[in-house]
């Protein structure tokens, strides 16, 4: 784990540069395909940047939610393996 962290931190600036380059490329090239007839995508560069920023935040939120749900699922599986989710047959009642 420590080796992995150090490897990532050494290469962090290069990775960040690659991600920024990809985002800039996508910002400028892909929406141009949709400008044949009526403009069906925001034209102003600032509006496009806001759209892509929102999309990135949206994906981060989805990934976060998936991680939380997977943790919940692992908890449920663990409880089921332990067998503590089922009630015992001869459990005493408080009558």
């Amino acid at each position: 784990m420590l080796k992995f962290k150090s490897a990532i931190s050494n290469r962090a600036p290069a990775i960040i540069k690659i991600i920024v380059l990809l985002v800039l490329m996508l910002t400028h090239t892909i929406p141009l395909c949709s400008q044949d007839n009526a403009a069906s995508f925001p034209v102003a560069p600032y509006d496009r940047f806001i759209v892509y920023q929102t999309l990135a935040i949206f994906w981060i939120a989805i990934i976060g939610l998936i991680i939380i749900i997977r943790m919940k699922l692992r908890e449920i599986e663990r409880i089921q393996k332990m067998g503590i989710n089922k009630e015992e047959n001869d459990i005493p009642t408080l009558d």
């Binding site: 044949d36 949206f58 749900i69 449920i76």
Partner: protein
């Protein structure tokens, strides 16, 4: 360690049994989720859409250019429809290949098949609402093709078009189908379909049920479905953002059809099949024979539970396995050929 985890997960995903389970069981849930998304985005769009032929195209342009995030809702609605169609075709063909249409699940097959037909008509009716050149030409061809059905074709064509030709009446009629009639029928059939699924799970022999369904739906399966729905939502939003659909020029009923116009991808296999037949066959109209052949093929598929009567999970029927494979390959090959031509 992380690499090993990813490797194990990748092997798990590529396991044929898991793919089969996903294709048969999970795609139905994905389609239901996408239908709900379509209802929501459709309701939002219907606030601003004007279903009159003189203003329909302009209202779409106004939604996309003047309304805040209007372009996104339209794009999301478009891509939601594409993903529903893809999911439904995967679901239908996987049920066909895994022979899950056999008794007692034949009613499930019938309700599902009708739902597939309704979804295709949803797509066609929604496509016309843009009222651009491509949509006009596509609906003209589609309704014209329906008119070639023997006996009932003329009635079906005039019922769909609201007259002899595609006019403003057709737009009003398709809007009524898309916004009121089809949603009501869809909700009714989806409820029946889900109830039948639950009934067949409940009525399964206990020995099989204990092995298959050790976990109740809530919370275990619910959370698994939630993960899949979140991923599907992310894919739909990404496609809607990067590939918004274009709006063509306003339709002119008097102008000729644009060159190289093609229908939507889920009609391409029909389009290519029509191209295979010559104009005249033994003195008869080639188009009518083509439509008759296609209709009988679809009817055979619909009634397949009556033909494949061998029941039981381990009883094989090689002929019907090959029929399923032929149908699947034919659909894929013809769709790809339609794209490339």
């Amino acid at each position: 360690m992380i690499y090993q985890r990813f490797n194990n997960r990748f092997k798990e995903l590529c396991n044929l049994k898991n793919i089969k389970t996903f294709a048969v069981k999970k795609t139905g849930g994905i389609a239901l989720f996408l239908f709900i998304i379509q209802f929501i985005t459709g309701m939002v769009l219907s606030f601003y859409y004007i279903p009159y032929f003189e203003q329909a195209h302009k209202s779409i342009v106004d939604i996309v250019t003047k309304l805040n995030m209007g372009w996104f809702f339209r794009s999301f609605h478009h891509w939601g429809a594409q993903l529903i169609m893809a999911t439904l075709f995967i679901h239908t063909f996987s049920v066909l290949l895994s022979k899950s249409y056999k008794k007692p699940k034949d009613l499930l097959w019938f309700s599902g098949f009708v739902l597939l037909g309704i979804s295709i008509f949803f797509g066609l009716s929604g496509y016309l609402l843009v009222w651009d050149e491509k949509a006009f030409a596509a609906v003209k061809v589609a309704t014209g093709g329906a008119g070639s059905i023997p006996i009932a074709g003329v009635f079906i064509k005039s019922f769909l078009r609201g007259g002899i030709d595609v006019t403003g009446e057709t737009l009003t009629r398709f809007h009524a189908f898309h916004v009121s009639i089809l949603p009501v029928i869809t909700i009714f059939l989806v409820c029946i379909h889900i109830l039948l699924v639950q009934y067949h799970v409940i009525s399964m022999p206990l020995s099989i049920k204990k092995r298959a369904n050790q976990m109740p739906f809530f919370p275990y399966r619910f959370y698994k479905y939630l993960i899949i729905c979140l991923i599907v939502l992310g894919i739909a939003v990404t496609l809607a953002t990067f590939f918004p659909p274009e709006i063509g020029k306003k339709a002119d009923p008097l102008a000729p059809a644009p060159e190289n116009v093609k229908p939507e991808w889920y009609f391409l296999f029909l389009f290519q099949t029509l191209k295979l037949f010559p104009g005249e066959i033994i003195g008869l109209n080639g188009e009518m024979i083509a439509v008759a052949v296609i209709s009988s093929g679809i009817l055979f598929l619909f009634l397949i539970p009556f033909f494949d009567r061998r029941t039981g999970p381990k009883i094989k029927h090689t002929v019907f396995t090959w029929i399923g494979i032929v149908y699947t390959i034919y659909f894929i090959v013809m769709t790809v050929m339609g794209f490339l031509s």
